[in-house]
Amino acid sequence: MTYEEFADTRLAPLLRYAVMLTGDPHQAQDLVQETMVRVQLNWRRVARADSPERYVRRMLTNQYVDWRRGSWVRRVLLRGEPDASVPALTDHAQSAVDRDQIWSWLSRLPRRQRAALVLRYYEDLPDMEIADILGCAVGTVRSSISRALATLRAEYVEA
């Protein structure tokens, strides 16, 4: 597989995944951009992986989880041109977002927990694969998910 072929089919799903992780289209673009630049520069190594897709997803997830230590947030600030590619929310969608408290609660979770939730409830991956992507044990995945769910449930009760 070439980088071009990979990008043809995988860029859109990765971007959707990044939106779920960050909750923000601009940050998602920056996250995917930073990851994919690295992917392109190191394509030979990526292509050698058993599943390049999973390899890249792991890169992107690490980049997201490690944002404090990494540098992609810096690029958010440096990004020059505003882009027209982000669709403006319609009024209808906006009101849905307003009602959508669970979405805002998600943003308060630790990044690793949010990533685990996205991988299980959006990407529908088995815990084994989530553990592989997050680089931890299956038990750790389950405990972070249950902690995250407990936090969200507590928010429900308060709200």
């Binding site: 990008a7 951009q33 994919m36 520069l41 669709p87 929310l89």
Partner: protein
């Protein structure tokens, strides 16, 4: 159920996803830029920027015939010049792909406008500085923050450190280089060893090797060993910084003595020596201009200095700038009057030979 609400929330937000077209174009653009940068950094020729900037081999480089302006520098040689500042970073980490890197030696080489002699200014690695994207932390973590992990990028680490150093000192950084252990070893061996003069005996915490007081010629492995020592030195990281200055002073002498810069064969050998262990930045200052500047230097004997710092406050390990001396020193550096400052503070000079 909360799980169902979650699934629904994710699906409902799918329309937030931007289109991929512009993103893909910007990925390609950025990747092309970085690929070019990488190639530039790997070009052996720019290594000359490091040596040239250090004032290496200055008298030997003086050309027999006057330099033809346009061919070399694009401007007449001997134009009244400005001060130059070159940032040298010594980073730790072993092997081809260490999982992280810290810059434990941060050395600013200042070449005054009058081209009298180079100044080697150590910036303490524990100095508290403001690092974009990280907050206030030790200077050596700027490289770590920029380079990232688990595959540190030397260029990015250099870029962020350069920014932090420029903010801290207020001077423009004209060129710079990052030296890994491997690069240090190879460059030392390429000049057949470097003479380092120690005021006191140093015993290696890592290899148990003893470096006696006095002058000694060290090969690449020994140089790396010496410059890693901090724990058992009375003044810790400060003593290590002083040893780094003694090494650089010795490297300059070694290269000068060998006529490296005037001998094309030796020069080519030295330039290719550090290989991937050295990344050089010549963004701010074209190499050709540096070369044109060299014959103007009077002496290659550097003056060793450290940025004056105070005691850590509130139990923290971050060192603040010395409240009195620090600002005065930085002002002297920015205004290119270090000679005057050194005359006023002779006790601050670190003997390098």
């Amino acid at each position: 159920m909360i799980e169902d609400d979650l699934r629904a929330a994710f699906v409902r937000h799918e329309p937030l996803t931007p289109s991929t077209g512009p993103l893909r174009a910007s990925i390609d653009r950025l990747a092309a830029t970085r690929r070019r940068r990488r190639q530039r950094f790997q070009a052996a020729g720019v290594t000359l920027a490091l040596l040239a900037a250090l004032g290496v081999g200055v008298p030997q480089l003086r050309p027999d015939r006057p330099v033809d302006g346009p061919s070399l520098s694009g401007q007449p040689a001997g134009t009244p010049s400005e001060a130059l500042n070159v940032l040298l970073l010594g980073v730790d980490g072993f092997g081809e792909q260490p999982s992280y890197r810290l810059a434990d030696s941060v050395l600013l080489v200042h070449i005054p406008a009058d081209r009298s002699r180079p100044y080697l200014i150590s910036l303490p690695r524990d100095l508290g500085v403001s690092i974009p994207g990280r907050g206030v932390d030790k200077l050596n973590s700027a490289f770590f923050t920029g380079a990232g992990e688990p595959r540190p990028d030397l260029d990015a680490g250099y870029d962020l450190t350069r920014r932090v150093v420029a903010d801290l000192t207020g001077v423009r950084v004209d060129a710079g280089a990052v030296l890994t252990f491997a690069g240090l070893r190879r460059i030392t061996d390429a000049v057949d060893g470097v003479q380092v003069c120690l005021p006191k005996e140093v015993e290696s915490w890592h290899t148990r090797r003893t470096f006696p007081a006095g002058c000694q010629r060290l090969d690449g492995a020994a140089s790396v060993d010496l410059l890693r020592q901090r724990r058992d030195l009375p003044d810790g990281a400060f003593d290590r910084d002083r040893n780094a200055q003694r090494y650089v002073a010795g490297l300059i002498r070694a290269v000068s003595a060998k006529d490296v810069l005037s001998n094309p064969v030796r020069l080519a050998g030295l330039l290719s020596a550090p290989g991937k262990g050295l990344a050089v930045d010549d963004d701010g200052l074209p190499l050709t201009r540096l070369v044109a500047v060299l014959p103007e230097m009077d002496s290659v004997d550097p003056v060793g200095l450290s940025l004056p710092v105070g005691e850590p406050v509130d139990d923290r390990t971050l060192l603040p700038l010395d409240p009195k001396l620090g600002k005065a020193f930085l002002a002297a550096l920015a205004e290119d009057r270090l000679a005057q400052w050194v005359a006023q503070h002779p006790e601050r000079v670190n003997p390098v030979r």
